[in-house]
Structures are given as structure tokens and as C-alpha cells.
């Protein structure tokens, strides 16, 4: 175990990565000596920071991307996808949320069956890569995985339609490891907000420790869930609407409300939502840190989910580059530690505690849509 831990922190390739180490005569011409030294120091700072506080990446479409491939090897590297174990190590990714969302196009299968299939695939992939990946159901297991040099995989977000309007199915999905559910696209979590059954779903999610994901949810659903939830929520892939209008981006008032409620807005590396450059992403991070607070901002690679990525941020090895840019912009290291790791850990741990407390108080809910909403 100990040698694996070392692997994570000192892979030989790492020197090439965070920012390109300036070498050779041409560089000496271009860089004065002090700039060269400063660049080297920045590389070391990024590396040290990420070694201590790796990236918890809020959204990965890997399971579904792998489904298309006849064969893959994540352990040695897989060029057909943006995520594999070597590049997760290069990027200092310590935890990865695996999306169980379904494709927007034609759905031959009902949402629940398709979600079960994705869960099965996710579990199989994790089992097949025991040296690189480990399923984590709780905040404690995320830490355990990291201490063993594995990337913790957290299952979710799943789509709310998979519940088939049943709290029993929510509980069963939790048993299978689902940790995050996106509250959108159903009769009880729609543009009109949460119905009474929708509110009961949120309460049962609190009881089970399933995090609410509000990216893609309506403003009404977001506002109500922030009030109702006894534990902070996530926005698995939302940037700032003030900088770039996109339906999944959050306006400043909701960002402020999210911050007040202790939630985390995870900024996607998706050009459509942030803009096409690394600087654009950094602008969004700056803005959300200012509006929601440093404790309410996180990162979400959205790799292998079909999103187009900003330049230089095209696979899971990219994070050191982004962190270097934020350092240049004057982010204190404490805020960077919260951004990459601390905030997500806090939200997961808080949900675990809230669930244990709720299970003392509350029986499993047997409420049904027909009773509460009709």
C-alpha cells in the first residue's frame, strides 16, 4: 500500500505536466533567470498542493463512454476516452463522480433499466481495475481509497426519472451505491419546482445520504431544495450565468443562496458553459468564489460526457494547468485546497452525518405520488 501511495505523488511523468518546465537555450533566451525560477517554483507549488489536496472531479461520463468500446484498458491507458488511470494520476485526481445520466437521444429502455445497466457497468469497471479505482460509498471510504493510492469512485449523479416515482427504488439504488441524484426532468421536480412528493424525495435522500444535484434543475426546484435539505447540495456542473448565459449556469442570486446554504457549485470544463479557453474557466471560478464564497466552489471535468472542452483542458491530466493559472491569479492555497478537495469532502461527510441522524428519527418513507400529489 505504501508504495502505491508514493506512486500517486511522484509519478515520473509529473515533471512534464503541471506547466511545461522551461528547458534549453531557447527558453533561456525567452525567460530572464528570475522568471525561470518563478515558473519552476510554481510547478513545485502546484505539485505539492495537489499531492496534499487532490482533485475531486464532480462529473465523469466514463461508464457510458466505455460501453461503446469493444475493449479497453484503463490501467495502461486508453486513448479513446479522456479518462484512464495514468492520466488520473497525472492530473492528481483523487475522487471521481461517475455520472449515471442517460443519453438525451432515443431511449429504448425505461430509465430504471438503463440506470441499472450503467450501474452494473460501473461496478464491473471498478472491479476490473482494483489497482487504480475503488468504489466509495461514504466520505470515510473516499479517504480510505486515497490512503491506499486508489482513485475513489463515487456513483452518481443519476437521473431522477430512474426512481419511477418510488422511494423504494431510491433506497434500492442507494444500496447499489448511488450517492447523487439530479432533481430534474420528472413530474415531481419540474420547471414548476418540487411537488409534495418531490419534497418527500428530498427528505428521504437526506435520510439515506443521497446528495441532491441541482445542475439542470429549475430555479424553483433549486430554491426549494436549498431551504428543505438538511445537508448541503451539489451543482454537479454549473458555471456562472453572469459571465455566460446557459440554462445550467447559475445566476448570482442562486449562487449566493447556494453559498449561504453551504452547497458546492462545481464548474464544468465544458466550453459551452464556460467559454473556450482556460482563462474563461478561471474567470468563472473567480466569479463564483467571489459570489458564493471559497467554500462553495468545486471542479467538474465533464470528461467523456460528450461535452466540448476548453483549450488545454481536454483530459483528466489537465488539472495542474488550471491550478497553476489560479495560483497566478492570487488564489490562496487554502482556497485552492477547498476548491479541489475540501468542499466536496465536507459535503459528503455532512450528508453521512445527516443520514445517520435522520435514521434515528425517521422510518423509511412509504409515500407515493398518488397520495401526495393527486
Amino acid at each position: 500500500m505504501a508504495d502505491l501511495q508514493d506512486d500517486l505523488h511522484t509519478t515520473p511523468e509529473i515533471g512534464a505536466l503541471p506547466v511545461e518546465r522551461p528547458t534549453g537555450a531557447t527558453v533561456a533566451d525567452a525567460f530572464p533567470a528570475e522568471a525561470y525560477a518563478a515558473a519552476l517554483e510554481a510547478v513545485d507549488r502546484v505539485r505539492a498542493l495537489l499531492a496534499e489536496h487532490p482533485v475531486a472531479d464532480g462529473y465523469s461520463g466514463l461508464p457510458r463512454a466505455l460501453r461503446r468500446l469493444p475493449w479497453y484498458d484503463l490501467e495502461l491507458g486508453e486513448t479513446d476516452v479522456a479518462t484512464d488511470v495514468p492520466r488520473l494520476r497525472e492530473g492528481h485526481v483523487g475522487a471521481l463522480f461517475w455520472s449515471l445520466h442517460l443519453p438525451d437521444d432515443a431511449r429504448p429502455d425505461p430509465a430504471l433499466s438503463a440506470t441499472l445497466d450503467q450501474l452494473d457497468l460501473a461496478r464491473t469497471v471498478i472491479r476490473d481495475h482494483p489497482e487504480g479505482l475503488r468504489l466509495a460509498r461514504t466520505a470515510g471510504q473516499v479517504i480510505d481509497a486515497r490512503n491506499c493510492g486508489r482513485v475513489a469512485v463515487v456513483l452518481g449523479p443519476a437521473t431522477a426519472a430512474a426512481l419511477d416515482d418510488s422511494l423504494g427504488i431510491l433506497r434500492v439504488l442507494r444500496t447499489l451505491g448511488v450517492r447523487v441524484l439530479t432533481l430534474a426532468g420528472t413530474s415531481w421536480a419540474s420547471e414548476a419546482g418540487l411537488t409534495r412528493f418531490g419534497e418527500e424525495v428530498v427528505r428521504e435522500m437526506n435520510r439515506l445520504g443521497v446528495l441532491a444535484d441541482l445542475s439542470g434543475a429549475s430555479d424553483a426546484t433549486i430554491a426549494r431544495t436549498l431551504t428543505l435539505s438538511r445537508t448541503p447540495v451539489l451543482c454537479s456542473r454549473s458555471a456562472a450565468r453572469a459571465l455566460r448565459p446557459h440554462p445550467d449556469n447559475l445566476p448570482d442570486d442562486l449562487l449566493a443562496a447556494l453559498g449561504a446554504a453551504g452547497g458546492v457549485c462545481m464548474v464544468p470544463l465544458a466550453a459551452e458553459q464556460t467559454g473556450p479557453t482556460l482563462r474563461d474557466v478561471a474567470e468563472h471560478l473567480d466569479h463564483i468564489r467571489a459570489v458564493a464564497g471559497p467554500e462553495s466552489v468545486g471542479l467538474s471535468g465533464t470528461f467523456d460526457s460528450g461535452a466540448a472542452h476548453p483549450q488545454d483542458l481536454t483530459d483528466t491530466a489537465c488539472y495542474p494547468r488550471l491550478i497553476a493559472e489560479l495560483l497566478r491569479r492570487g488564489w490562496p492555497e487554502t482556497d485552492l485546497a477547498l476548491l479541489t478537495w475540501g468542499n466536496v469532502q465536507r459535503v459528503l461527510r455532512s450528508a453521512d452525518f445527516a443520514a445517520r441522524a435522520a435514521q434515528e428519527r425517521r422510518e423509511p418513507s412509504a409515500a407515493r405520488t398518488v397520495e401526495l400529489d393527486d
Binding site: 425505461p110 433499466s113 441499472l116 452494473d120 427504488i169 434500492v172 423509511p364
Partner: protein, 392 residues
């Protein structure tokens, strides 16, 4: 000591493993899973065959709770998951009496602790919606057997009570069996056509079970097991768990039931409907046509014959309580098992034989399926076959 006392003494050491109980479906139909409204810690004899006190009286030590859902639902998967949730909630609610069990070792641990091992069995291949991923999901949730069909055919297997379609198991059906072997989920051949039984025995490398079926030689009903299939159980290592359902075990009841079902359909009910309204229609029919009554001896006759054909190491019990409107006299609810054991003692069954019937065979079979699974998992990856790819 009377034979009933001797039976109780025996069951105290080797309690009953029952292969099939439909309490979850009854809770779904009667109270929409409001477990407080049918609290099994209280006496539920007015509503159910099953509650904790009667399970204890009956000497039950392990129960495969059926997570059955009707095969005529448009999508069986959500309802099956709700059934699983129901069992898990029951176990969570009654930790002093029930213990979730997913392995043979769990069953033995429950026996040592004096709790009732609670296992799950899915009743009908419709519950996986032609998806091996969903099959693995059910396994991950604790389901340890799947009956390949219920009363209707599935796309890949023929039912005993439907028109022949694929003639047993299709290519995908055989892949389902192989994947169940790989997982360690028992292949249950109750409800399936004899052709499906034979195909499954040809395909399965692990012991199979009949979770609730009796002998077709004793009572000619398609739900029962023909002798040529029973004869194959010793080589396979599996077991047939005798069921008590009068309309399968008593010839006179077979004919009476055909008439009663016709009456239900004439009144616009599904013939398996057990809602109060449906039961009212059923009772009216019964007043006009007295129902033939099966007894403990009827079931014992089946066991005597099955023992002749399959051998003592391949028998078990699967009462089908709360899944059937009527039960034999003396086996009225889950408290009745000691009467059956007493009857068999009177017929000269030894205590060693009865220990196999009630407990040991079922534990051995689940353990053997686990061994096969461990072996297969070393060489076989999860199957991603689809019904389209194999059956065209």
C-alpha cells in the same frame, strides 16, 4: 412423546428452510408497503398466512421471501426493486427475529443466533427485462434465486402454463442460466415447462432448485415436476422443494380450480387476484361448489414419491404461503410445518432424513452454487450478451 412433540424438537435443531413465501406481494397489495399497517410482530392471522409468532411456532429458520411481481405489468423491473426494498425494510424493522442472508454461511449464522435467515428469490425472468445487467443488479441487491418464468412465457424461456414458444430455453435463455451460475444465483425451475427444466439441467453447472413444486406422477398438474426431471437431481446436486398449494397437489382440487378460475374471469378478475373484492367472488363460488380439501397426508404422499425418485438429499419445502388463496388442512399457515414433520415421522422417516429435508439440503445447495460461482468467476467475465445478439 407424541410425534408432534418429536417434530418440534427436531425443528428446534434443524429448522425449516422454506423456498417460497409471497408476504412482500401481499404487503404490496393489501397496504401498499405500509409495514406498520400489517405489523408482522403482531398477530396477522386475519390478513396473512405469515407473521413472526407463527413463523416461530412453525419452526422456520430460513425463508426465501419472494420478490415476485405480476408478469403482465408493462415493466416489471421497478416493481421488483420495490419488492426487494420491502424485504430489506422488513429485516431492518425486526432485527431480533430476522437477519438478511445472502450466503449459506449467513444461513448458519442466523440459525446459531436464533434468527430467521431472510433470503430473496425473484419469481420470473420478466423481472430482468431481458438484461443481464439487471440480473447482476438483482444479485447485488441480495436476490439468490430466480425462477426462470412465472405463469407466462418470457422471450427466452417457456412456462409450464403457457403455449410452447421457444421450446424450452433459447440461446439467450441458456446464457441467462450460465450468468446465474457465474454469479451464484440459483436457477429455480418451478413454474417452467418441462422442456425448460431439461434445457436448464443440460446448461447449468450449479445445482438447480424447484422453490415450490411437487410431483407430477402423484398429481398431474403442469406446475409439478415429472419423474424424468426428478431423476436428474442427484447428478445435478439440486433440490425439489415440495409445495402445499392444494390446486397443484390434490387431483380433485386441480379440476375444482379450473372451474373456479373460469368463474373469476367471468366476473372480470385476474384468476390470481387476492384483493377482498376478488376473494368475495371466490367465496361465493365455493359455497355453491364445496372445495376439495388437501391434507398433510396429501403433501406427505408427494414427498414419499419424490424421495423414491430423487433421493432424500434432493428434497426440501416451499409452502407458497401468502401466494395462494387456499392451504391444506393442518398446513393452514406458516405455523403448520411441525404437522408435516410429525406425519413423516409417523411414516418412518428418520430424524437424519428429516434434518436434510428441513435444513441441510437447502444450505448445501446454496453453498454449492457459491462454490461454482467462485470457480467460474476466475475464468469467465460478466456476460454482455443481449437477446438480440443471441436470439436474433
Amino acid at each position: 412423546m407424541t410425534s408432534t412433540e418429536a417434530a418440534r424438537e427436531l425443528l428446534a435443531e434443524f429448522p425449516v428452510v422454506d423456498g417460497h413465501n409471497d408476504l412482500p406481494w401481499a404487503l404490496r397489495e393489501q397496504v401498499s408497503y405500509d409495514l406498520a399497517a400489517r405489523d408482522i410482530a403482531l398477530d396477522q392471522s386475519a390478513h396473512l398466512h405469515t407473521d413472526l409468532r407463527r413463523l416461530r411456532t412453525g419452526g422456520v429458520g430460513a425463508q426465501y421471501w419472494s420478490v415476485y411481481v405480476r408478469s403482465d405489468l408493462p415493466d416489471a423491473v421497478p416493481a421488483t426493486l420495490e419488492q426487494i426494498d420491502c424485504v430489506r425494510r422488513l429485516v431492518d424493522r425486526h432485527p431480533a427475529d430476522l437477519r438478511l442472508a445472502v450466503t449459506a454461511a449467513d444461513m448458519e449464522a442466523a440459525r446459531r443466533e436464533g434468527r430467521i435467515a431472510s433470503l430473496m428469490g425473484a419469481e420470473g425472468g420478466h423481472s430482468i427485462a431481458n438484461s443481464l445487467g439487471t440480473l447482476r443488479g438483482l444479485y447485488a441487491l441480495g436476490v439468490r434465486y430466480m425462477t426462470l418464468t412465472h405463469n407466462d412465457n418470457v422471450d427466452w424461456a417457456d412456462s409450464a402454463t403457457d403455449e410452447p414458444n421457444v421450446g424450452g430455453l433459447s440461446a439467450f435463455g441458456r446464457e441467462v442460466v450460465r450468468e446465474m451460475n457465474r454469479l451464484g444465483m440459483l436457477v429455480d425451475l418451478s413454474h417452467v415447462a418441462a422442456t425448460t427444466m431439461r434445457d436448464a439441467l443440460d446448461t447449468s453447472t450449479a445445482p438447480v432448485i424447484f422453490s415450490h413444486s411437487s410431483s407430477r406422477a402423484v398429481c398431474d398438474h403442469p406446475r409439478n415436476i415429472p419423474d424424468d426431471v426428478l431423476e436428474r437431481l442427484p447428478a445435478n446436486g439440486g433440490m425439489a422443494m415440495v409445495t402445499f398449494v392444494p390446486k397443484f397437489v390434490l387431483q380433485a382440487a386441480v379440476e375444482w380450480t379450473a372451474a373456479a378460475d373460469e368463474n373469476m374471469r367471468a366476473h372480470g378478475f385476474h384468476h390470481l387476484d387476492t384483493t377482498p373484492e376478488a376473494m368475495k367472488v371466490h367465496r361465493a363460488f365455493e359455497e355453491r361448489h364445496p372445495r376439495p380439501v388437501a391434507t398433510v397426508a396429501t403433501v406427505a404422499d408427494h414427498l414419499d414419491h419424490m424421495r423414491e425418485v430423487a433421493g432424500i438429499d434432493h428434497l426440501g419445502i416451499g409452502g407458497d404461503y401468502d401466494g395462494t388463496a387456499f392451504t391444506p388442512a393442518g398446513l393452514d399457515d406458516v405455523s403448520g410445518y411441525p404437522n408435516l414433520i410429525a406425519e413423516l415421522l409417523d411414516r418412518g422417516w428418520s430424524k437424519a432424513d428429516l434434518a436434510k429435508l428441513t435444513w441441510q439440503n437447502a444450505v448445501r445447495v446454496l453453498g454449492a452454487a457459491e462454490d461454482v460461482a467462485r470457480h467460474l468467476q476466475a475464468t469467465r467475465a460478466p456476460s454482455h450478451a443481449t437477446i438480440e445478439s443471441l436470439d436474433g
